[in-house]
Every structure is written in C-alpha cells, then in structure tokens.
Amino acid sequence: MGILLETEGVAFAYGSKMVLDDVSIQVEEGDFLGIIGPNGSGKTTLLKVLNGVIEPWKGRVFFRHKLIHSFPRKELARSMGVVAQEYAFSYPFTVREIVLMGRYAHMSRLGFESPHDMEVALHSMRSTDTERLADRKFNELSGGERQRVIIARALAQEPQIILFDEPTAFLDIRHQIEFFDFIWELNQNTGVTIVAVSHDINLAAQYCEEMVLLSKGRVFRMGRPDEVVTEDSIFQVYGKRVLLDLNPLTGRPRITLLSQNEAFRKHKHKHLPAEE
C-alpha cells in the first residue's frame, strides 16, 4: 500500500492570521484517518488544502505522488470525493439530480447521463439508503437524510478517497453511529480511503486506524489512536484534564470530560481521580 495523499511542510494564513504551520502528514491507500483538534486549530483548513480547494502559502500537497494543483479539477474529482459540513442549494433540485451531479467528472461536456451513469447513481443511492428519496426535493429532507444524499453523490464519483468535514456535527447519536458504521464498512469492503475531520474524540478513536491531533495549526501528534489520545496530549492541546480509560469492547482509548468546579467535584464525584 503506497502513500495516496501527502502534505509537505504546508503553511496557510487567512490575512495575517496563521492557520496552518509546517504541517506534514501522509495518508496511505486504504487508511481510515481521523483529524482532531480544538476549534480554530486548522482542521477544516487542512481538509481544504488536502482537496486542493486552497493553495498553501508554503509547502506542497501531493496526490498519487503528483502535485495536487497539477491535476485538472475534473480529473481530481474522479478520484476524490468531499463531503463538507453543510449544503444549501439556491434552487430546488431532486435527490436523483443531485446524486447524478457526482457523475459530472465522468461525463463528456455535452453528453447526457449514460445508462452506466444511471446505474452508478442508483447503486450509490441504494448503499446509502436514499433510493426511496430519489424524487424528493433536497431542501425538504432532514439533516441525516441530506448528509446521506451528499455521501451518495460523493460515492457516485467512484472515488479512491473521500474527505469528510465534521460529518457528525449536526447529527443525533443514532445517526452519528450509523454514519461511522457506514464509512467503516465502506473502508473495509471497498478499500476507499477515508479522511474525517471530527470534533468527537471518542467516536474518532473507536473507528479510525490513524489519527492526527492538530494544535494551533501544527501537528501535535500523529499515529494510532492509543498514541494520539492520551491524558497528557489532551491536556496539552485542549488545556483540560480528562478521565481516560479503555473502551472494554474495542480496547480503544475513551475520554470522559471532567468538571472544573470544585464544589461540583466534592458533591458528585464518588471517588476523586488522581489529582494533578
């Protein structure tokens, strides 16, 4: 398995505010990589650098060992899908129309969708359980349904890698777990490489094989979940003590948030955790 996507000393700033600084990460083929970090640590910006939407000030981004900006957008879209945080359409489109947009990169300029394109779109809708929504308008769907439609569209691109930006931010716990189960299965069965930016350290630690912890635009730590999610690293990056133990089912690290309120701790904590 080779390296699919890679950044080399990437730096980026909005105006004079440095958002990414000397970030070098590698994503191997078939990886399931989670990117975590506090608000404003540069997670979303890193994702945009990885998908080539923004060009870094310094450093380079390689996709399949070629500079990502040397790819025409259309060619890149045949290998890389992106599911952003939120989607709004200016005008009413049906779910089928939206999923078929994923075939744009595979179509000729004036061509219409071929039976094969229709087949791929249908298959994508089936695997995301959105086939029954095909003729509904996107704007009438619930948050969970919308996300599945956007995933179906990304799948219709038949990509090698899919990047997710905060995929569970607006979902309830049922949809959160369904989402992670779904992309885990996708990763296992079809070998699609997954990169997911997430706020949810616990979910990410259970599902991801590799993790990157960002702090103030820099890579704080990178490696297996048990290497990245430690009491110490969370304290240094988030500035808060957490209780860390292992999930008895998966053996992966699991954090519990701790109250900072002294009175609360005296009152509610059955036995105090080891003091710092």
Binding site: K74, R96, Y104, R109
Partner: protein
Amino acid sequence: MIAARPRNILVVSGALLLLSVLVTFIALASGAVTIRFQDLWQILLGSPELSVKRTIVLDIRLPRVLLAGCVGIGLAQCGVVFQTLLRNPLAEPFILGISSGSALGALTAIVLGFQFIGAVSLCAFVAALVTILLILGIAHGRGPVNTTSLLLSGVILNAFFYSIILFFISTTSEEKLHSLLFWLYGDLGRSRYYHVAAVAPIVVLGGVFLFSYAKHLNLLAAGEEAAHHLGLAVERTKIILFVTVSLITGFVVSVSGVIGFVGLIVPHLIRMVLGSDHRILLPAAGLFGASFLIAADAGARVLIAPTELPLGVITAFLGAPFFILILNRKGTGWGSS
C-alpha cells in the same frame, strides 16, 4: 419536475416553440388595425394584394414581433444564468447596472439628437460594454470574483448612473422627454429589420453557448465549493459566464430599452414547473420568454390603441399577479430551510 433527458428537452422545447409561433400569429394580427387570419396568411405567403395591410404586417409588425421574441429569449436566459451565478433569486439581467449604463448611452444619443441610423442603439451598446468592463474591473480588482462584491458594485453603479439619468430628465425638453421615458421602460416601437439582424444571431448563438454550460451551471447551483469538489474549474467558468450574459444583456437592452421583470419571473416560472436542471431550464425559459414578450408587446400596442404603452408597464402589470398566484399555489420552498 421533468428529468433532463434528451427526449424530454426536445418535447418541452417543441411545445414551447409551437406556443411562440401561435403567439406570433396572434400578435401579427392584432394592433390598431385588426387583420383577419386569412388575410394574414395571404400576406405571409407573399400575395401582392392588400397593399396597406401588407405594409402594416411586413414592415411594421413583423420586425417588431421578431425583435420582441429575440429580446424575450435573451432576457429570460440571462436571468436564469444571473440567478444561478449570483445565487440570488432576486437577480435579473439588469442587476449589475448594465441597464442604467446603457440607458445613459441611449439618453446621451437622444438628448444630443444624434440622427444616424441606429444611433440610440449603438450608443446604448457602447455604454453597456463600458459598464460591464467597469463592473468586472471593480469586482475583480481584488482576487477571485466574489459574488457579493459584484452585486454591490452593480447596485452602486446603478445608483450613480441613475443620478445622471435623472439629471438629464430634469433638464431636457418636453418632446425628448417622451422618448427618454419610453426607453427607460422598454420600447420596441422603433424596431427595424436591422435590429433583428443584429440581435437574432447574438441571442441564438449565445443560447447555444449557454446550453453548452448547462451542466456547469447545475454544479454552481449546488454551491461553489461543492462545484469544485465535483470537478468544475469554478473561477474560469464563472468569468466566462458573467462575460457572456453581460454581453447578451448589453446587445438586447440596446435595441429594446429597459424591459424589466421578464428576466426575473420567467426563470422562476419555468423552475417551478419544470425543475432546476439547466439543460431543460435554459431552452424552456428562452422560448417561453419569447412568447411572453411577444404577447406583452402586442398588449402594449392594443390596450389603449391607437396610443401605445411602454412595454415594461405591461410586463410588470401582467407578470406580478400571475407570479404571486403561482408562488402561492405550489409549495416551492427553495433556498435552505
């Protein structure tokens, strides 16, 4: 909602083309002098009799109806593209100030009394071009084309030009005032075949060109970032489309004056009935826009004949209630909910 398959596009376009032919016949027959359909048929077949009516139909009404059709196609299609590019349902072909810019050109020609053939149109067109360059210059000055700064520069330019227009209006003589006002509210009364010859190729070729960007426009309607992810070279596409629709609008406005509302409501009407896929929306809006404007222009000639109304009066007067009716009848719900 109709799926954008080649057969559906042909059927819808065919039906709407038939409608516009029908409307054309009715518009040729109606006016201060009503002409019976048999006579109209004879005249169109080239019968040398009925010389007076012949002149009315062939020299006065036909160029006017054809021009109305071209202007309708152009305004409706440009409206579709502006609404998608600016991601704003209130957008219309004149939103970037092209109307007031070219109005200023036309008014200059009228006030200074230029007499050569097509003087008003020519000045209007040159002024429209200058306006387009100004807007693109202002909005493109700082990096990639930003929709909000584009919209704002359009609004500001509009306000500036209108102040000059109002200055003209308040200082000009009575008889020139009439043609000034007609131009500002749309007027096809001066239509000649050379106007048609100038605008028809632009509108038709422009329409074909825009259709070749229909799938790109679908992606842009999904959001610029999503369009990027789906494989579109967003910046280049936006600039090409902005320049194209601005040019078409400039051509159209220079022969017709400022006809409001068509470019706003026709795209929405078609979207509500046929859906948002640009492969069906663009041709359907163009052809329906043609019928709508031909009918409205006939109305402008007939309603208080023999006096004529400015065309913009009719388009807004008929269009607004009709639009509200449709808006309330169908659960449209666009935008993010």
